[in-house]
Symmetry: C2
Subunit: 352 residues, 2 copies
Amino acid sequence: MHMSLFEVVGWHEGKVRMLDQRLLPDQEIYPEYSSAAEVAQAIRSMVIRGAPAIGCAAAFGVAVEAHRLAQAGVPAHWEEALMPGCQTLLESRPTAINLAWAIARMRQVIAAHPTPADLPARLLAEAEAIHREDIASCRAIGEHGASLIQPPDNRPLTIMTHCNAGALATAGYGTALGVIRSAHLAGKPIRVIACETRPYLQGARLTAWELVKEGIHTTLITDNMAGHLMSQGDIDLVVVGADRIAANGDTANKIGTYSHAVLANRNGIPFLVAAPISTIDLNTLRGSDIPIEERPADEVTHCLNQRIAAIGVHVRNPAFDVTPAELISALITERGIVRVPNREKIRGLFSK
Amino acid sequence: MHMSLFEVVGWHEGKVRMLDQRLLPDQEIYPEYSSAAEVAQAIRSMVIRGAPAIGCAAAFGVAVEAHRLAQAGVPAHWEEALMPGCQTLLESRPTAINLAWAIARMRQVIAAHPTPADLPARLLAEAEAIHREDIASCRAIGEHGASLIQPPDNRPLTIMTHCNAGALATAGYGTALGVIRSAHLAGKPIRVIACETRPYLQGARLTAWELVKEGIHTTLITDNMAGHLMSQGDIDLVVVGADRIAANGDTANKIGTYSHAVLANRNGIPFLVAAPISTIDLNTLRGSDIPIEERPADEVTHCLNQRIAAIGVHVRNPAFDVTPAELISALITERGIVRVPNREKIRGLFSK
């Protein structure tokens, strides 16, 4: 069985511990957090990122908040006591729906608490369950997705991915990289092209790091090279993760994903989205309803804390974009594969 | 009359002087070069870049080589004596055709030299002529192009550009940025979106620097944000330069240009190419015949000399891509505008 060589987020001696992804690939450091506010700040400042990983971190954030509050005596009104912490976590980042989904699950436990003294332990158990289920989902996504990876007889299949939808973006194993991992573990000959993913360089720093560790042949490119390589026949397939999937299949993911989808479409290259069901938000009817986070300007004017841009220039920094469902060849979930997703097929996933 | 605030390349006390663009926007330093080999090395290492500017630099490179040789006495066989220098310059970068075009012009002067002792001065005069004509071409391109910049009544027109096709990429004034400059000087309300242009960041470092100096409202984005902004209606028009235009109108330009063209096409946004006639190569029949330079891996794994990528990753680094003529709404040259260029219309430009 395949095990990650690092723990993205977990519970460690009464605290939430995360791998600080801002320092990768240079340093592997595991800071710890003791309150919901601290966990929210870690999410906001990108210590941890990736929609499913953010969901797990938020769940542990609620659990650690309950532990913190209980140290001063069990609160009379748990729901009231935990409300501010839940709200802070909920507002830490706007686009990934897994965050809201995880908090909603934790709130159900809070609302149902039969014995107030047990609640911290119950919340921790729920967070651990979300974490465990996320890994199981990723493995199932990997298995389903690997069936779509069919290298030709005479050469490896070249798969392009954007940003990091890997073990680092989830509780472990990954969604898009889960598909790649499963194909690799099944002995299928593959090569990966990782887009560096400006401005935050998740592709260069995180995806390359994960895949090289795994022994998978990986080639780094700048984001603007993808279209050229597609036009040259150098890319066979694209697989990415998702931060929120609307009810009609429109998919928000890291900025640049939409461009890759348009270019894949023009060049006749399959474009796959791999994500757990928790990424689908039936309350968001279409892509244009998904809030797109604008992040600080210095992520664009600077690269690893060095200024790269002329002084006086304005900046736009949308962190995500929306790929229309019609450009998605298949959506890979833990419940199976949906080809060219639409409202009906997406609804069908929930009755499985 | 509009004057540049810096000299990109020129003749200074018997040497070729260039603005070292690798140090912009932080430092404005003007190194000098005394031989064809030194100029070729400066071109190769990106002290100067941009197809028309490279052409000018190469012409001055031939002139300075003649001056250097003449110091040891006038050679008996000028053509033989200058051949290695011309060849070194020709091979300094493969994609921009203006380089070959400028060397060919200098070779005509060498072949026709009536008085051997005068040749160095004649070569310098020819290089100065190429330089002067390039500025005149850019101004004419600017005038023609500005006629296509038609802001609506109620708001400024937002023009996106990629890489740097500005004063810094030419003898002065610029091609794509020449169009923007002319529109701005004509009082048309415009705003510019500059794509940062990884890996070499010409957009962030050079285009933003030029335009901010000029007082033109400029917003910097990472390359992968262009498609998203187009889909949101935030970009009205795209204008870029060119490194080589094939006889059928297919256009090689900085990596990422092709992707922008595909995205503009999908979103119904006009896509303009601005370039002097010297960029058109009738001997290159179509885009697939244009040699695409692959540059060193460390441009991708590093950003301003800092490593950004995990160790062990492979790299692709094509410096250019090819935009098919069908995606080009108009080609703007000093001889006028060609809408949706093709073989016939391009040939027509040469009979004007």
